[in-house]
């Protein structure tokens, strides 16, 4: 029997996930800054360079970084999946992605094919390195839970979207846009949102909702089938868009229904949670549900009405749903990691999780984030609001960074002092 699942040094070093977490809001800040100076009329066209840059500052910079950080932490702890040389791999992957995003942004803005080639190399090696190591680690897992299955499927989608993304970026670098460009871009974005981020969030929710809030477990059917069904729906969607686009709506309805059901289930499971304490992370889960519901509805409507912009769908699902879940989870995970690692080092008098992040400041950050999203939606109809929205978003990202940074700083500061080992076990009774 394999006992890899339980070893003493399970948790990866704190730097491995924390580095990703602390960097993500910085990208959010720059995305907002970039939006602030962009023309909303240009951004509405999803294929404009500005829209691609802004989107990827958020999708790679925030989603990619938070997901990679979270998986680095969760795979060993929840699944006993050991990532090869986790400390070094995470650092190398991080640096490749960091410089990869920066060169992608500058490459696109300056229309420099050399810089874009560098971006292809850096992003490709960074993502493929991390994703392959994670999938390889999952291969050794003995006790497979629905959560781990979700993470695995999501990583397969991640692998594919990175491949497609590189192909698209290659198009810009070489100036050679094939007739497939738009089609691949479509599959790339839908798989990224629903396949990579969506499935990962579903898988993680199975585990964290009961764990953090003592909410009821998801129904067995849901836990065991929904990830497969979503995956199948996305494949069906891709086959249809390639060969019989007129039936595309069926696959869209399929995927949308499953996510709709997921959102409703999360809402009711949170209502039925045994821990009645409500905190910022619950608010974020609630907002995630509402944005997911509205986003899927608009996605379906976009099939019927030409006027409904797909950018609005991206805003609701990407900005609203995915970002809400991520911020909520960051507020839980970052202070817990700081506490956990300090405790493991022998420090007993550590600030509690509540003392690491000021609740009031977190609430202000939440409010600003939600306001920013509403303003972005309004700006579709009232363009001048756009700059106000971007500015609000920028402030919310700055506060998020401030909140997470303060927690991380406690780790550094405490570590500089001497640990106060608990010696009670050695005292005479």
């Amino acid at each position: 029997m394999d006992f890899n699942g339980l070893s003493l040094d399970q948790a990866p070093p704190i730097s491995a996930p924390l580095r990703f977490f602390i960097t993500a809001p910085v990208f959010g800040f720059f995305a907002a800054l970039f939006l602030f100076f962009s023309d909303p009329a240009v951004l509405v066209n999803r294929f404009s360079i500005e829209a691609i840059v802004a989107t990827h500052l958020i999708t790679i910079g925030i989603f990619g970084f938070v997901m990679m950080g979270a998986l680095t932490q969760m795979l060993p702890v929840l699944a006993g999946a050991k990532i090869f040389a986790v400390k070094r791999s995470a650092l190398v992957g991080y640096l490749l992605l960091l410089f990869g995003v920066v060169s992608m942004v500058f490459g696109l803005m300056l229309n420099s094919s050399i810089v874009l080639w560098i971006a292809v190399g850096l992003l490709g090696s960074g993502f493929f390195l991390l994703i392959s190591l994670m999938l390889f680690a999952i291969k050794g897992v003995t006790y497979f839970t629905p959560s781990i299955f979700g993470m695995m499927v999501s990583l397969f989608f991640a692998f594919s979207i990175v491949g497609m993304g590189l192909y698209l970026l290659y198009g810009y670098a070489s100036g050679d846009m094939s007739s497939f460009h738009v089609l691949i871009a479509n599959i790339h974005s839908v798989w990224a949102v629903f396949g990579f981020c969506g499935i990962l969030i579903v898988g993680v929710a199975f585990q964290v909702l009961p764990m953090f809030y003592v909410a009821p477990k998801f129904k067995q059917f849901f836990e065991q089938r929904v990830v497969l069904l979503i995956g199948f729906g996305l494949l069906l969607w891709s086959v249809l868009i390639l060969f019989v686009p007129k039936y595309l709506l069926f696959a869209k309805l399929w995927v949308a229904t499953l996510f709709f059901a997921f959102a409703i289930t999360v809402w009711f499971n949170l209502n039925k949670r045994k821990r009645s304490i409500s905190d910022i992370t619950i608010w974020y889960w609630r907002s995630a549900v509402l944005f997911l519901l509205s986003g899927t509805v608009v996605w379906i409507f976009a099939s019927f009405y030409e006027g409904v912009s797909i950018t609005l769908v991206a805003l609701l699902i990407g900005g609203g749903f995915i970002m809400s879940v991520m911020q909520g989870m960051l507020y839980k995970i970052v202070p817990f990691l700081v506490w956990f690692h300090l405790n493991a080092l022998g420090y007993m008098t550590i600030p509690t999780m509540n003392e690491m992040i000021n609740k009031k400041v977190a609430r202000v950050q939440f409010m600003l984030f939600i306001t920013a999203l509403f303003l972005f939606v309004v700006s579709f109809f009232v363009p001048w609001i756009f700059k106000v929205a971007a500015l609000t978003f920028m402030i919310s990202m700055a506060i998020l960074e401030y909140n997470l940074f303060l927690a991380a700083r406690i780790y550094r500061r405490t570590k500089k002092s001497k640990p106060d080992f608990d010696m009670s076990a050695f005292t005479t009774q």
Binding site: F3, G5, L6, L8, F212, R275, S276, T352
Partner: protein, 146 residues
């Protein structure tokens, strides 16, 4: 026929239940939550000892794994005992913020711990000790907390 896994999982659920009651009470009045916090700690301690004094040694003898998963679980028990002690101190100092900060940390630690036990260790224990489950469950049931 008794089942070690089910028996210990039941313990987890009843501790979870007490935990949420404790938080609810503390939210209303921290001082009045002392009694239920003590009850929670008592139940947790009984569960820990059921494992540490009965199930873990049986498991270790049967499988020969002394420094493996059971040792890790013991260490996590110590971490949780420490946090629970601090919960009582927070009540005595009437520090509600501290109390909820600690309960938050304890909750995550506890659930992460439970998940590992329920998904892995208990499954292994039931596989190895299944034929002696009646005797082991009886011993755990009869245990007097030290």
């Amino acid at each position: 026929m008794s089942n070690i896994k089910e028996y210990l999982i039941n313990d987890h659920r009843s501790c979870d239940h007490l935990f949420t009651k404790m938080e609810d009470q503390a939210n209303v009045s921290l001082v009045d939550a002392k009694e239920i916090t003590e009850a929670f700690i008592r139940d947790m301690e009984r569960h820990f000892q059921r494992e540490e004094r009965v199930m873990f040694p049986e498991f270790e003898t049967k499988t020969g794994m002394v420094n493996g998963p059971t040792e890790m679980m013991r260490q996590e028990h110590m971490q949780m005992r420490n946090l629970m002690q601090q919960l009582l101190e927070a009540i005595d100092n009437e520090n509600k913020d501290k109390f909820f900060g600690l309960s938050e940390t304890l909750m995550i630690l506890l659930q992460q711990h439970n998940m590992k036990e329920e998904q892995m260790l208990y499954t292994m224990a039931q596989q190895h000790l299944g034929s002696e489950a009646d005797r082991i469950v009886e011993m755990m049931d009869a245990l007097v907390v030290e």
